[in-house]
Structures are given as C-alpha cells and as structure tokens.
C-alpha cells in the first residue's frame, strides 16, 4: 500500500517535471510492434509521464544503425551480441533488460518432419533438415534471424550449406509468415507475432518451451556524448517507466486468446 503511494507520488512528480506531449523517438523491432503490446503501453506512458513515444518499427540491424547515427533517442531490441557490440563502441549509455517473450516453431498442420514430439529446439531443427521440408528464414540479419542461425549452429548444422528447401526471404516477421503460409512451410517466429498474425492458413504452432528459445528485450538509451541533440533525460524517464510496477502489470497482463506473451523481468535499481 505504502509502496503504491510512493509510486503514485513519483509518477506525479515526474509528470509535473516533464511538460505534456514531449516527443521521443524509439527504434523498436517488428516483433515487438506486431505483438500489439505497444498499443497498450504507449497510451499509458502518455498518461503517466506525458511522453509521446514515436516508434520507428524496423529490423534490429536498422534499429542499431539508427541509434549509431543518433536518429533516435533510444532503441528497444533483442539481440544480446549486437547490443553488447553497440555498447562497446560507445553508441549507448547502458543496457537495461525489460522483459522477455519466446520463439516458437511453426509449420504445416500435419507436421511432415514430426517436430511436435522433438525433445528440444536443436533436435526439432535437425528433424526439419533431415526431412528437407521447406523452411522459410527471415534472412534479414534481424534479432530473430540471428537467433535462428544460432539455433542451427547449436544443432551442428550450417545454414549456408542448405539446399533449396531452405528459403531465405530477407523480410520482416509478418512478410515471412505470409510467405510460409503461402508455401505451407516451417518457420521460426516470436510467439507474439504468430498469435497476432491474421493469415495463418494451414499453419500451426508445433514446438515451443525450450529455454533456449527465450528472447530478452532490453532498452538502450543513445549516448548523448556522441549526439548532443538526443533527449537522454526523456530516454531515462521512459526506461524508469518501463521498469516500474505499472509497466510490470500491463506487460504481464497482456494476453492474446488467453495466452500471456511477455514476462516482465526488469530489476529495479
């Protein structure tokens, strides 16, 4: 009870110190935006701290480039290695973990490669490569694509040697799912994009739950020392909001068809 009062008071002080409708640009990944969670969070952010968050929905690769060039104030992405490299090069001030969701393997309803009963993600992918059934890959160097390549590697396979059953489309999550739906092929997607996807056709969720499929999202404010115009104070205010209890309730409570999509795991400092 006392805590919520303090939270309320802080929220009030913050909203008083920040003028209404200040704008901040944040580059986010398609998988975050396609989940629909931003439609819940953005109005709440505007209401609580008077911040108008403008989202640039791009792939992780492009998000990092936008951050490097100082064209956005913060980035919210999910590719640990690329994030660490971004920080090491001094483009960001720090990295704060916010939440995670998970990746799932999608495929034709009748599951010709029989991955539904696979023990783990690596063996599921191995089964697909044995069956040589069509598999659609993002192929766009996004966070999801990097994850997929890491999984092939963990199964001892090299995705650059695959035959024509492996189809790299170089597109966003939605477009890739559309392609997979058209070809009735296997595909790896984040759970949120899959649940929100409107053109499922004959596809079904076949494999999920392996801990290696967890997908951590983190926010990185762009370094104001490199780009003096970036709104670092607003980026920090946004970060504070995202790790707050209010965000925890909204993120954990967001469901599609009764399924929880994201788990808030930010640690208050």
């Amino acid at each position: 009870m006392r805590f919520s009062k303090i939270a309320l008071a802080t929220a009030f002080v913050m909203s008083a110190s920040i003028a209404i409708a200040e704008e901040i640009k944040v580059a986010v990944t398609t998988s975050f935006h396609n989940s629909g969670l931003s439609d819940i969070l953005l109005p709440a952010i505007a209401e609580d701290i008077g911040l108008d968050v403008q989202l640039l929905v791009v792939g992780t690769g492009q998000a990092l480039r936008l951050g490097e060039a100082g064209d956005v104030d913060a980035i919210l992405v999910h590719s640990r290695k690329a994030e660490d490299a971004f920080l090491e090069a001094g483009y960001g001030t720090h990295r704060r973990e916010i939440m995670y969701n998970d990746f799932v393997l999608i495929g034709p309803n009748d599951d010709p490669a029989k991955i539904g009963s696979a023990e783990n993600a690596a063996s599921a992918l191995t089964l697909i490569s044995y069956a040589e059934t069509p598999f659609v890959s993002r192929g766009d160097d996004s966070g999801t694509h990097k994850k997929e390549r890491a999984l092939w590697a963990s199964a001892g396979l090299d995705d650059s040697t695959f035959e024509s059953w492996y189809r790299s489309v170089g597109a966003g999550m939605g477009a890739t799912l559309n392609t997979a739906s058209g070809m009735n092929a296997y595909v790896m997607s984040d759970r949120a994009s899959w649940l929100n996807f409107g053109n499922k056709g004959d596809l079904a969720l076949l494999f999920s739950g392996d801990p290696v499929l967890f997908n951590q999202y983190a926010i990185i404010p762009v370094n104001p020392k490199l780009h003096t115009h970036v709104k670092n104070d607003l980026a920090n205010a946004l970060e504070e909001w995202l790790v707050s209890d209010r965000a925890r309730v909204l993120i954990d409570g967001y469901t599609i068809n009764g399924e929880t999509l994201f788990t808030h795991n930010a640690v208050a400092e």
Binding site: K25, T30, N34, Q54, L55, L56, V57, V58, E68, A69, G70, D71, G172, M173, G174, A175, L177, N178, S181, N196, F197, G198, N199, K200, H227, H229
Partner: protein
C-alpha cells in the same frame, strides 16, 4: 477471392464510420504528395520546356539521362535522402528526418524527372508548330518558354498528374525517410505495408481501395475544374 470481398467491406466500413485515423493518414498522404507535385511541377515543367527550345552540345545526353531517371528506384532515393538527412549526415543539423518535410523532399526527387520528361515531349511537339511564329515575333527565350507552357497547359497537366500518380502510390522511399510513425509520418501506402505485414489482408486491401478511389476522385475533379476532356470539345 474472399479476401478481396473482405477488403471491399473493410473499405466501406472505414468510410461509413468516418474513421478518425483513416482521415488523418489520408490527409497526410495528400499533403505530402500534393506538396511534392507542386514543387516537382515548378521545377520540372520549366526545365522540360527549356530543354525543348534550347539547342546545346550535351542536349542528347541530358535528355537520355532525364528519361532514365524516370525509372529511379524509390528505395534507393529513400536511402540516399536518409543518409543526407541523418543526424550524422550533411543536413543532419536540420533535424528533418522522420518528418513529412523530408518525405516531400524524397518524393520531389522521384517525380521531378518524370514530370520534366513528359513536359519535354509535349512541349517539343508544340515548339515545332510555334517555332516560326515565335521567332518572327522576335520573342525572348523566356517569352517563348512561357508561351509554350501556357499553350501546352493541358499536356502539362498530364505530366503533373503522372507525377501525382507515381508519388501517391510510392512506399519504398517514404518508409525509409518517414519511418511510418503513427500520428506523425504514417500515410496510406505505409499503413498498407504495415497491415500486410501483420497478415491483416482485409484492412490492407480496404486501405488500398480507398487510395485508388481517392486518386480517381482527384483526377476527375481536376479535369472538371480545368474543363478538359469534356464532350463536344477537342
């Protein structure tokens, strides 16, 4: 087939309920495109006419390049404009990236060669007809160009409308430089790309039908207002 019917019904639903968000992105589409067409015409029409009446050494090459630029890939223009206006680019200090202004700049680059090229074709034929008359009247070059533009205004309207057609349906460049930000830089075409990505084909098609419908209405309105293409008149 079913998707197309659903698209049509989505379009009707959006129009009948006068969807606020639809009105916003539609207005922005027209704001960006009409501004680009106005600027593109101001640059392209006189340039096309100037090319028609002037003879100079590199004329053939200039025209060949101009015609080739009609096919400029929008996505390359988008990337080019992005690099120029990025915070780490030469015009970064202006802070114009991800605003409608920079979307207009990208579209001007895309459509000006098209407008200039069509204007040049039209004026060239008119110039062949007017050549002796305008020379015998001892007109200056400027006067000749102005006369040709005025008398060729119907054909030049087609040039401007071709520019409008290319700009209103363009998505590659404005996606990169505008960023498709909700309530800031989202327009009809980028919204269609977004909904297609979500697999919501009905809504995407519905927006597409609205885009096509509005383009037809605008073209008709221009023909009616300028009294071109009416019956009983050639």
């Amino acid at each position: 087939m079913n998707d197309i019917l659903q698209g049509l019904s989505a379009a009707f639903r959006l129009i009948i309920t006068f969807d606020g968000e639809l009105a916003e992105i539609t207005l922005r589409s027209f704001q960006v495109t009409l501004s680009a067409v106005a600027i593109g015409s101001l640059l392209g029409l006189p340039f096309g006419a100037w090319l028609a009446v002037n003879r100079f050494r590199m004329r053939r090459y200039t025209i060949a390049v101009l015609n080739a630029l009609m096919g400029l890939p929008p996505v390359v223009v988008g990337l080019f404009v992005y690099i120029l206006f990025s915070r780490s680019g030469p015009f970064g200090v202006l802070g114009l990236l991800f605003t409608p202004t920079v979307m207009i700049i990208a579209q001007v680059i895309i459509i000006t060669p098209l407008i200039a090229s069509i204007a040049h074709q039209a004026i060239r034929e008119l110039w062949a007809e007017y050549h002796d008359l305008l020379l015998s009247l001892n007109t200056t070059k400027r006067q000749r160009i102005m006369t040709l533009i005025w008398d060729g205004r119907r054909a030049l309207l087609t040039a401007a409308l071709a520019g409008f057609g290319r700009a209103i349906g363009e998505v590659g460049a404005i996606m990169i430089v505008g960023g498709n930000i909700d309530h800031a830089t989202r327009v009809l075409t980028t919204a269609i790309a977004l909904e297609t990505g979500k697999g919501d084909f009905a809504l995407a098609l519905g927006l597409g039908f609205i885009l096509i419908g509005l383009a037809i209405v605008l073209n008709l309105a221009i023909h009616i207002l300028s009294r071109t293409e009416q019956g009983g008149r050639w």
